[in-house]
Point group: C2
Chain length 207, copies 2
């Protein structure tokens, strides 16, 4: 199995390669990627080695080629269809957030179970009721669900997503949800960054 | 300087130690921490070495002691006062989120610049106008501001936080903000985890 940390670093290398490509830079090296990613060149080579041979010994990597490879490995070379479950405050804020179009994640549908919310138009989408979930997931080819319902509703909403055939869940609710092995769940918590803020306030010299 | 990745791993080690302590487990080792954190034992020892000598060679670490040390290093052994700037949908969702009390981060005040929102009570807090920011930051000892205003307003709101004496900013707006060196800014992007979801959907065997 590949450590989660490796995949997070691959996402970082991809971000760096995208920036290099945007600047018209054709070549890079494990040293340059390492410096930008704040890791060792050894770590960069070790991470890439999980997935194949890239670049040429002594000559580094071709930026567009490595970028294309990483996008393929990370599943970012194809569009992904997402749905938001729970169109309360967080769900609405996420539906308007400009960044997820950046990597071909496209919002296809929004769901809620509150009669006051269902049928409303939010971020250009009409909100469906939960009974429409299986049909809409199938018709629109939804791959990933964003779970932004209250804590007490999270497991039931996750069960509905799994039954509808969803492949992955981004779980914003502050509770662990149980799903079958073949469904991938990623928990989301903004507080990891908050602890980095307190660290740097205490240790300003270490920035 | 200490790489951000090291600090993120320290946060992970602390989470593991907290869990061990809750289970009444008195001792651990770099190997056990490494396994739970999905890194090498060498990485664990290297990370801790930045901050001092912990544990005894051959005998591992005492869980409560190492946990206390990490809390101190991460600035989590003291209460932190936070304020939310921008009480729209994301700001309101964050103000209700149950987890940030867990590590002594306590919400002390909420601000907005919309007359319809100012004066309303949200999550037990009355929303202040931005003109009250310097006084409230001083009186309530606010250390950290959560920036949850629209993209176009982010720099101006950050300037107001800096002028009011804030030490750190958790920036949710999708734009880089400029602040003096002594103020720490941590950007937040819920969607970093989304790319891990797509990776594991493409590569289920690698979980
Ligand atoms: N991960 C994070 O960092 C973070 C930050 C803030 C909030 N949260 C969490 O996000 C969630 C949403 O927060 P919020 O403030 O937007 O809540 P909210 O109450 O404003 O919205 C919840 C919405 O979910 C709907 N809902 C409830 N049960 C449902 C079900 N079974 N199926 C479909 N829809 C359902 C409600 O009708 C409502 O519209 C909460 O669990 C909260 O703890 C997470
Ligand atoms: N980091 C992430 O992952 C993520 C996810 C979703 C949304 N966002 C971002 O969070 C921000 C808020 O999103 P939202 O959907 O809650 O927006 P919103 O429009 O619902 O709320 C914004 C609030 O900020 C207030 N405001 C505007 N200018 C202000 C100023 N100068 N000072 C004080 N208050 C001010 C408004 O009156 C409003 O109440 C946006 O920048 C959005 O892009 C980030």
């Amino acid at each position: 199995t590949i450590p989660t940390a490796t995949i997070s670093r691959l996402v970082t290398y991809l971000r760096i390669l995208t920036s290099l490509e945007n600047q018209g830079i054709k070549n890079t090296s494990s040293e340059q990627l390492a410096e930008e990613a704040q890791v060792s060149a050894f770590q960069v080579r070790k991470d890439l080695a999980y997935f194949g041979r890239f670049g040429t010994r002594g000559a580094g990597y071709t930026v567009p080629t490595l970028r294309r490879e990483l996008r393929r490995i990370l599943g970012l070379n194809r569009p992904w269809n997402v749905a938001i479950i729970g169109m309360g405050r967080l769900g609405q804020a996420i539906s308007d957030y400009p960044h997820f179009e950046q990597y071909d994640f496209s919002l296809k549908a929004c769901f809620d179970n509150n009669a006051k919310v269902i049928g409303q138009t939010m971020s250009g989408h009409q909100v469906y009721g939960m009974d429409a979930l299986p049909q809409v997931v199938k018709e629109k080819g939804i791959d990933i669900g964003f779970l932004t319902v209250p804590q007490a509703a999270a497991q039931a909403a996750a069960d509905a997503l799994v039954a509808a055939g969803i492949k992955g869940i981004l779980n914003f609710a502050p509770v662990v949800i149980n799903v079958p092995r073949e469904v991938h769940v990623e928990p989301v918590d903004f507080l990891a960054g908050l602890k980095r803020v307190s660290f740097y306030i205490i240790n300003p010299g270490l920035k």
